[in-house]
Symmetry: C2
Subunit: 314 residues, 2 copies
Amino acid sequence: MRIGIDMMGGDFAPGSTIGGSLLARKTMPGDDEIILIGDKDLFAQYVEENNLDVKGISIVHASSFVGMEDHPLEAFKKKSKASMFLGQRMLAEGSLDGFCSAGNTGAMLVGAMQIITSIPGIIRPAIAAPFPMLEGARAIMLDVGLNPDARPDVLYQYGSIGTIYATLVNEIEDPKVALLNVGLEEGKGNLVTKSAYQLMKESSTYNFIGNFEANELFITNRADVIVTDGFVGNMMLKEAEAFYRLVTMKSVCNGYFEMFNFENFGGTPVLGIKAPLIIGHGISNEKAVKSMIEHTSHVVRVGLVNRIKEELER
Amino acid sequence: MRIGIDMMGGDFAPGSTIGGSLLARKTMPGDDEIILIGDKDLFAQYVEENNLDVKGISIVHASSFVGMEDHPLEAFKKKSKASMFLGQRMLAEGSLDGFCSAGNTGAMLVGAMQIITSIPGIIRPAIAAPFPMLEGARAIMLDVGLNPDARPDVLYQYGSIGTIYATLVNEIEDPKVALLNVGLEEGKGNLVTKSAYQLMKESSTYNFIGNFEANELFITNRADVIVTDGFVGNMMLKEAEAFYRLVTMKSVCNGYFEMFNFENFGGTPVLGIKAPLIIGHGISNEKAVKSMIEHTSHVVRVGLVNRIKEELER
């Protein structure tokens, strides 16, 4: 298995990406290759300065990179040789099995749609984020930001994609799929969720348990997959981030709240595109990059993309 | 000033409502009347059993009440003599200056629309909820649940109603109005927020500062009024409730998090209807009911409803 990582991506690159790769190297099977994509001179200089043993990781040179502040579409048009897009092309061409970056998220998504492209049958790809639930359980919510306007059929399909993700990646048997809504009863909601409910309740391919309210987050384990549109999902995720920062600011000493540290989760795959592409958080440190690489490897190992393709062929 | 309270409303009524009224009685000016609306025999029995001095509060008899589990529309059709609806009629007719209930929220809202009715010019009334912000500041978010589908012109108008609320009730001069969105830049968002942004930025009647992201909640004081539709707003509020419960469950001893206890805020007015109607939380205890009554009194005193009417006449 060949896992690529954007050496230039993230606020603390290349220290975080090189360091994270070396950490991941220690835990991953020996026949898994870790390939850094970025400036080879910068790599050599960093390795020398820090006197690192880089056995087991390799470098593919890219002559430019996408900055965190670059406009995603413009970067895509003007920086085709950037490490992020090179990695994506290598992934699309099959010379990588998975690719991850903690760089510019918008640019990663542009590349996801333009270079990796959607699986035929996927109406709209999505991004899933993990939400900590009761007693260490973890639900995923999708979409958390790719499509601010999702039609009912898109939400319906998120249930399907999410089920595959929860089954394969979170190893949950017959995951419970819920629709995020303003009330528990059928008939509650806005126009989109009302219609989506009708589609989802007829699903024969996943276990739809009905509506789920936001005040059940964190404190129940009633759902494994929580479906919503990218506008609401992004709000939910960001409010949780705010809460985590608040807890941190207020110096509440409780390890439990580390579960809210979304940086610990090591990135989130773009679901519904043709290859495993994992997006990390810009402020990833070494530990976060390590998690991101391991997560990429895990997503590749369980065959997530193929399983989604198969689901669409049913 | 005559403030009515639904004696039968809330999970702990009538103990919470009678007890809360007596607590409020001690802090409110002597010429403010507190009028309980509910079963007079139940009132007499509770007063006798608990040996209470009820000087300064009075009772108006209602022969039935809306239960917490009643279907709002059916209750409205079949229980016209219920305390909640009697109180709303008294409010509409002018024999009360303000009315509050911690009872069935859905039924309160049906009554708000059917008995109190909207102010002419208000496209859709809204419910505002307070959000604790940095350094003790408090922003309001609206709508948090009345309209799951809000058009851009409705969001635009929420900016106006919210400005009046923040000015009068929270005593903030020239409040900063923001649009809850998935990014800070103009052009971000779903179809509705993109259009709403265009309307709001042209506003000459309030101070629009642009988009606001959910990860700024609690930890900034960049906005005083946060505008969103009732679907998203309800999610935001309920996720915050979940946080509060989580913090409580995890026994994090930090008084700061009491700010997340939405029950402390003593109810929220329905904005845009013709009279001051305040909705409390079902699980209100004495202290919460006291806050609800005081809040109702405050809303009446500052002339919130008239100010919204005047705004629409400009």
